[in-house]
C-alpha cells in the first residue's frame, strides 16, 4: 500500500513529533487510516475512544513497537523509522530503530516488569544495559526515581511481591530512568484494581505538572479532563475530534464525540 506524502506539509516549527498520513494494517484490517498527529513539547495528550479504535496502535507506532506501512513520522524534524532514498521511503536498520526508541519511554497496561530483577535492578536496567553505565554511576538516580514514585522502601523487592499499583509505579520509574523526551502510557490503569488506580494516576499527574511531555491512552475521563492539555478522540482508525479538555468535555465536540462521552458516562 502506498500513501502519497504531501511534501508541502512541512513540520511546524516547535513540533516535537509530527505524524503525517500514518497508516497501519494488520493483515486486511486497517488499524490506522492516514492519521495526522502533532505533539508539542510539554503537552499532555489524552487519547480516548472506543476499544478497537486504534488508540494503542497509534501510541505503539510512535515508538515503533509497530512499524507503520505508510506515512511519515518526524521527531524534532528528523525522520523516524525510515529514510528517503531518492523518491522511495526505506525502513531504517533495526539498530537505528533501537536507538531512536530511546527518545520515548513507555508504560504498558500489563506492567511487563522484568521478574528476575529486583525493583531497583528493573529501574537500572535501561541505563546499565542500554546506556552501558556502571551500577555505581546510576544507582543514586535509580533510588531517586523510586522515591519519586513512592517506592524507595521497596527497592529490594521482586516484582512478584508488589501490588499492581506498585508494579505500575516501578514501570514508570523504569521508563523515566532512560530520560525519555516523551512518555507514552498505554492504558496504564486498565489492569488495576479500582483502589489502586489513584496511586498511579497521582504519579502521572505529578509528571505532567513537572512538564513531562506525555501521550496517554486512557479510559480515565477524569484524568483526561483534569490533567491533559489536549484530548484526542479516535474512532475506526481515525482522529475524529480533538481539542482542549474544556472543548471536548464542555459540550463543544462533534456529534461523534458527544455520543462517545455519553456512552462512557462522562
Amino acid at each position: 500500500m502506498h500513501m502519497p506524502y504531501d511534501k508541502s506539509a512541512t513540520p511546524r516549527r516547535g513540533a516535537l513529533l509530527e505524524m503525517r498520513g500514518v497508516t497501519k494494517q494488520f493483515g486486511t484490517f486497517t488499524a490506522l487510516k492516514s492519521v495526522n498527529f502533532t505533539l508539542e513539547k510539554g503537552e499532555v495528550v489524552a487519547i480516548i475512544g472506543p476499544s478497537g479504535s486504534g488508540k494503542s496502535t497509534l501510541l505503539r507506532c510512535i515508538n515503533m513497537l509497530e512499524l507503520i506501512d505508510a506515512g511519515i513520522v518526524t521527531f524534532k524534524g528528523a525522520p523516524l523509522g525510515s529514510e528517503m532514498r531518492g523518491s522511495r521511503c526505506i525502513r531504517l536498520p533495526k539498530k537505528e530503530l533501537d536507538r531512536q526508541r530511546r527518545h520515548f519511554g513507555m508504560v504498558f497496561q500489563g506492567f511487563h516488569l522484568f521478574p528476575h530483577y529486583s525493583v531497583l535492578e528493573n529501574v537500572l536496567a535501561g541505563p546499565r544495559i542500554v546506556g552501558k553505565k556502571s551500577r555505581a554511576d546510576v544507582i543514586e538516580r535509580g533510588k531517586y526515581l523510586l522515591s519519586r514514585v513512592g517506592l524507595g522502601e521497596r527497592m529490594n523487592h521482586y516484582p512478584a511481591q508488589l501490588s499492581g499499583g506498585q508494579k505500575q509505579r516501578v514501570a514508570i520509574a523504569r521508563a523515566m530512568a532512560m530520560d525519555p523526551e516523551v512518555m507514552l502510557f498505554d492504558e496504564p490503569t486498565s489492569a488495576l484494581d479500582p483502589e489502586l488506580v489513584k496511586e498511579v494516576l497521582d504519579v502521572m499527574k505529578e509528571l505532567a505538572v513537572s512538564g513531562t511531555t506525555m501521550v496517554v491512552v486512557t479510559h480515565e475521563m477524569e484524568f483526561a479532563r483534569k490533567v491533559a492539555t489536549r484530548v484526542v478522540l479516535m474512532d475506526s482508525g481515525e482522529i475524529v475530534d480533538q481539542g482542549p479538555p474544556s472543548y471536548i468535555f464542555g459540550g463543544g465536540g462533534t456529534a461523534r464525540c458527544k455520543r462517545f462521552l455519553s456512552s462512557v458516562g462522562a
Partner: protein, 307 residues
C-alpha cells in the same frame, strides 16, 4: 500425621473460641475445645499401606535375598579397572557430545527463529533429518562416512586451491564419530527445547525491552534467556541424562564405554546379571549427580518466581 497450624490461623481459632477457652486457663471446668480442622483419614489409605508392605517384601526377596544377583560379584567388579576405564570414557563422551550438541542446538534454534527465510528453512530441515534418523543409524553413517565421501575438501573459488583437503578417515575415528553423532542428535532435540523455552517467555517482556531501547542481543542475553532457562531446564536435563545412556549406543562402532566394557567382561566370565548391575549402579550414580545439578540450577533461576 501431625497437622501444623499457621500462626495467623491459630490467632483466628483462638479468637473464635473466645478468650476464656485459651490454653493457659486449664483450671476452667469446661473442656478445652480443639478448634483446628483436622484432615480426614480415608479408609482407602490402608490399602496403599498394605501394598507398600507387599512391595517392600517383594523388593527384599528379589534384590537382597536373591542369591542369583551375586552381590559379591557386583562388589568385586564395581571398581574394576576396565569398568572404571569404561566409565571414564562414558563421562568424557557425554561431556564432549553434550557441550558440542548444545552449541549446535543454540545455532539451530537461532536459525529457526531468524527473520531470514533461508536460515529458518535450514534449521527446519536439520531438525527434520535428525528426528527422522535413529541415533544408531547416524553413528554408523558417520563411522562409515569415508565409504560415501573419501576426501573432505573445500575448494576456494577462482583459484585452483583448496582451503583444506584431507582423507575422511584421518578425521573420523571411533571416538570422533561417537562425539559428532551424539552431538548432532542432541543439537536437533535441544534446538526445539530452546525454541520452545524462548517462545514461552511472555511477549510483553520483549516489548518492554524494545521500549527502553535494547538491541536484540541485549534483550536475549539480559531478559529473555534468564527467564527461558527456567522453562528449558527440566526438558533439557532430560535430554542430557538421556545422553549418558545414549553413549551406550556407540558400542555399534566399537568404542569402549561403560556398557561395552561390562559386556566384554561378561562375554568371557558369563556373570551377565552382576555385571549389568554394575553398569546400572554407575548410570544411577551419574544420573543422581546430574539431577542434583538440575535442582541447584532450577533453584538459582527460579529467582523472582517464588518470592
Amino acid at each position: 500425621m501431625k497437622f501444623e497450624v499457621r500462626k495467623d490461623m491459630q490467632h483466628d481459632a483462638a479468637s473464635f473460641a473466645g478468650p476464656r477457652r485459651l490454653g493457659s486457663n486449664k483450671s476452667n471446668s469446661a473442656p478445652m475445645l480443639d478448634r483446628r480442622i483436622h484432615p480426614r483419614r480415608k479408609k482407602s489409605d490402608w490399602i496403599w499401606y498394605g501394598l507398600l508392605a507387599v512391595a517392600i517384601v517383594l523388593f527384599v526377596q528379589l534384590v537382597v535375598e536373591n542369591p542369583r544377583w551375586q552381590w559379591d560379584v557386583v562388589a568385586h567388579y564395581l571398581f574394576n579397572k576396565r569398568v572404571i576405564a569404561g566409565l571414564e570414557n562414558t563421562v568424557l563422551l557425554t561431556v564432549l557430545a553434550s557441550a558440542l550438541g548444545l552449541c549446535f542446538g543454540v545455532v539451530v534454534a537461532a536459525c529457526r527463529m531468524s527473520d531470514n527465510a533461508i536460515l529458518r528453512t535450514g534449521g527446519y530441515i536439520y531438525v527434520w533429518v535428525i528426528r527422522a534418523t535413529p541415533t544408531l543409524v547416524m553413528l554408523l553413517f558417520l563411522f562409515f562416512l569415508s565409504a560415501l565421501v573419501p576426501r573432505l575438501y573445500l575448494p576456494l573459488p577462482f583459484v585452483h586451491a583448496n582451503l583444506f583437503d584431507i582423507q575422511t578417515n584421518t578425521v573420523i575415528s571411533r571416538f570422533s564419530a561417537a562425539v559428532l553423532g551424539l552431538a548432532l542428535y542432541l543439537g536437533g532435540y535441544s534446538a526445539e527445547i530452546f525454541r520452545g523455552g524462548i517462545g514461552a517467555v511472555e511477549k510483553g517482556q520483549r516489548e518492554a525491552c524494545k521500549a527502553i531501547g535494547m538491541s536484540d542481543f541485549q534483550m536475549m542475553w539480559h531478559v529473555i534467556m534468564p527467564q527461558a532457562v527456567r522453562i528449558i531446564l527440566p526438558p533439557l536435563a532430560n535430554e542430557l541424562i538421556t545422553m549418558f545412556k545414549n553413549t551406550s549406543l556407540v558400542t555399534v562402532i566399537g568404542y569402549v564405554e561403560l556398557l561395552t566394557s561390562v559386556q566384554l567382561i561378561y562375554s568371557t566370565n558369563f556373570e551377565t546379571i552382576p555385571l549389568l548391575t554394575v553398569a546400572c549402579i554407575w548410570y544411577l550414580f551419574l544420573t543422581s549427580i546430574a539431577m542434583l545439578g538440575q535442582t541447584l540450577l532450577e533453584r538459582h533461576f527460579g529467582k523472582g518466581v517464588r518470592p
